[in-house]
Amino acid sequence: MANKRIDEPTGVPTVGHEWDGIEELDTPLPRWWLWTFYLTIVFAIGYVIAYPAWPMIDKATEGVLGWSSRGQLAEEMSAAEQARATMRERLARVPIERLEEDSELMQQAVAGGAAAFRVNCVQCHGSGAGGNQELGYPNLNDDDWLWGGDLKAIHYTLTHGIRQPGDDETRTSQMPSFAGAFDSSQLDDLVDHVLSLSGKADASNAGAQLFADNCAACHGSKGTGNREIGAPDLSDAIWLRGNSRDAIKHQILEPRMGMMPKWEGRLNPVTIKMLAAYVHSLGGGEDFLEVAADPEVKVDDQP
């Protein structure tokens, strides 16, 4: 209730409202406050002219400075891109075999690779690079590599892909189908033998003979596989498509073979290098030392 009166000690009128005995003095504003207010109006007019302000039918007025949030983003992105340019240049120059010597560059490559991985690779290999056993996408974290796990081998796989039609240098091999080649008991013996390689079943002579005749050519007499042709190691604990008897039988009778696209031409060479560094860094990456121990293989050769 408006109850205006003059406050005695100060001689200033009250605004006329009371809250539990507390009243407010209607003290006049200082004049400079008014000028500050006018100044904000002037500023607002200037702002409206300089920057996008009034919403129109399809877009807002543009402002004479030509600023836009999209434009600013593009500018900042290009600045960030430029900041990375030196790193990319160095990465483009350094041969993949020597990348590990420059730990700082390697670190940046791994970081860049992690980003590229999330865009290009997670669709099959999963965001944690854990792969998928149902669909036969390999786990990239472990130390089992079908085609080699040093930086150069990974880089080659990324560049040319696996069973990529139209690329002469792609990694390729084919496991033949053994449908109809074995009868049921032979098949059981063979599966037993395959499982026995990693100690999961008892070995039998029949199975060993069947394996030596049909499988050892590619997988090796002890089933340790062959990276030259991407023949998987059957003696370790890692099974690309499962280690149940059914899964192994299925793989013998109707082998499924994965396909990985080549990234050459789709990603720039620097990104491919970064991806190789990232995959190598996941915990199972191999050193060149093992490769270099073989005098026949030079690091410059095609792996």
Partner: protein, 526 residues
């Protein structure tokens, strides 16, 4: 009751209306002596009003030209100005040796590296609660000061007060004292006035620039920054900050001055609520001073006049331009210069000092009723101030304790969730973790990472190869940094999911240690 003074000089109607037996007056009641019911009495509207005030929406500013004064409080103000300005300008130049891996500036807010150095202390961003604690201490410190000595912060130590004081001395130095300044303000713009104003405002700008310049010294190595600044090589933010602070210093200290205290600052409002009847205030003892009359009149009519001779000295020396004789008010920053001025006048005319003095409302009431004046020092110690001091000291002690016992080695562990585990070709189970090793010492330290809890587990990292896997690994953490380590832990086939503990120990005399429990995931056994 009529005014004993010349009626032509006083147009106020001080008539008394008696209503339900209570005398109600329009006479200004100093809240120094107003009883509780006085407020209630004032609440009720009654006619006629003391003055028929016209409704004004805006008030022109009255320029304050405070007169020079000397006295104990003025000297204390000089001392405070010297101390506070010295702290502000000199602190960034103090050096403090922290070894080769840390800056040697005693007080440094290193925003780029997110470290705050203060002499022997170094605060990391995750320890911001120390800063929060300091701010709480500052807040409670203000409560303590306010309840003990009133608005002493406003009067002596507030930057607005200190810089306003500084600028007012510049005014006096260039333009002369109060009367000369008023004359010059009113004078037409001659070349002489232009020159004086030019010199004065240039000095304002220099002070402002120096103030802004000192501010940025807290955020970078001072000597390097000064060098870079004058060569034009400092960061743009340095120049922008100096420009902004130069402007605010000149505008707020040079031109706005008391307007900041009266209209802009929230602190006087908060303090109004915190003052009680035992808080020290600068008070005009109206029971002693009123009615006012010159020395001559008092001699002619002995016993009719109070001690106040209405010489206006208290008004003229006031840096915020108020009349303390109107009672406690928001514009009074309790700088006590009016006490100095009044005491000098009282001394000159041979009356006892302290007509305007520091006093509590309680003391005022007692004194007005004829009681003994008491020393204001006594008011410093009472339950409220002691309680504030205990809280303040308790927080300070707790902060110091926390600072003293904090560990300079810390570990955080983030286990990989995707995939939670994987098999290695020999059948063993591998888990991956991201470790963050925090070294808060200003020197590189070797730290030992040990895994505990999972039998036969071995660990390797992004820099330690698989063939060197072991239960204990040593890594070097750079000085004053967090090192991220990717740790891979492998346990033999058949290991079940269980708790895994990472323990990090610094390999130096301190042997500081930190342990984090996490999970070792494994396939569910059939």
């Amino acid at each position: 009751m009529t005014s004993p003074d010349d009626p032509s000089g006083d147009r106020r109607d001080w008539s008394v209306i008696v209503e339900s037996g209570v005398a109600k007056t329009n006479r200004p009641v100093s809240s120094a002596v107003a009883g509780r019911e006085a407020a209630t009495r004032r609440h009720e509207p009654h006619e006629p009003a003391r003055e028929n005030l016209p409704q004004k929406l805006y008030e022109p500013r009255r320029q304050v030209h405070n007169k020079r004064v000397d006295g104990p409080f003025r000297r204390f103000k000089w001392l405070m100005m010297l101390v506070t300005l010295s702290i502000y300008y000199v602190t960034p130049w103090l050096r403090w040796d922290r070894g080769p891996y840390a800056p040697d500036q005693a007080v440094l807010v290193d925003l780029a590296n997110r470290r705050f150095y203060m002499f022997g202390m170094e605060i990391w961003p995750h320890e911001f609660y120390f800063v929060a604690g300091l701010l709480i201490m500052a807040g409670i410190g203000l409560f303590l000061i306010t309840s003990a000595v009133g608005r002493a912060w406003c009067g002596y130590a507030c930057p607005q007060t200190v810089w306003t004081d500084l600028f007012q001395h510049v005014d006096r130095f260039i333009d002369g004292d109060r009367n000369a300044r008023m004359r010059l303000d009113a004078a037409p713009w001659t070349w002489g006035k232009v020159a004086r104003r030019g010199i004065k405002w240039t000095i304002y700008l220099i002070i402002g620039f120096w103030t802004g310049g000192a501010w940025i010294m807290y955020f970078a190595d001072a000597p390097t920054l000064v060098h870079d600044f004058w060569r034009g090589e400092a960061a743009p933010v340095a120049y922008i900050t100096v420009a902004v602070l130069t402007m605010t210093t000149v505008v707020l200290g040079g031109f706005m001055r008391e307007q900041v205290c009266i209209y802009m600052c929230p602190w006087p409002r908060i303090q109004t609520a915190m003052l009680d009847e035992k808080s020290l205030l600068v008070t005009y003892k109206d029971w002693r001073g009123e009615p006012r009359g010159s020395v001559k009149k008092a001699q002619k009519n002995p016993g009719q006049f109070g001690d106040c001779i209405d010489c206006q000295q208290c008004v003229q020396v006031c840096p915020t331009g108020i009349d303390i004789r109107e009672g406690p008010q928001v514009g009074c920053i309790t700088c006590a210069l009016c006490i100095d001025a009044c005491d000098r006048v009282m001394k000159d005319i041979g009356r006892p000092r302290g007509l305007i003095d520091y006093a509590t409302l309680e003391d005022c009431e007692r004194e007005a009723a004829g009681g003994e004046p008491k020393s204001p020092w006594r008011t410093l110690f009472r339950p409220r101030t002691i309680a504030y001091f205990m809280i303040w000291g308790g927080i300070g002690g707790a902060l110091l304790f926390a600072l003293g016992v904090r560990s300079h080695t810390q570990l955080t562990v983030a286990p990989d969730r995707n995939p939670p585990f994987m098999l290695l070709s020999d059948g063993s189970i591998r888990n991956s973790y991201t470790l963050k090793l925090r070294n808060m010492e200003s020197r590189p330290r070797d730290m030992e990472i040990a895994i505990e809890g999972v039998p036969d587990a071995a660990m390797w990292t992004d820099t330690i190869a698989y063939r060197d896997a072991a239960a204990v690994q040593t890594v070097t953490v750079p000085a004053d940094l967090v090192r991220q380590v990717r740790a891979y832990v492998a346990a033999p086939a058949g290991t079940v999911p269980q708790t895994l503990t990472f323990r990090v120990t610094s390999l130096d005399q301190q042997r500081e240690t930190d342990a984090v429990e996490t999970r070792f995931d494994a396939p569910e056994t059939e």
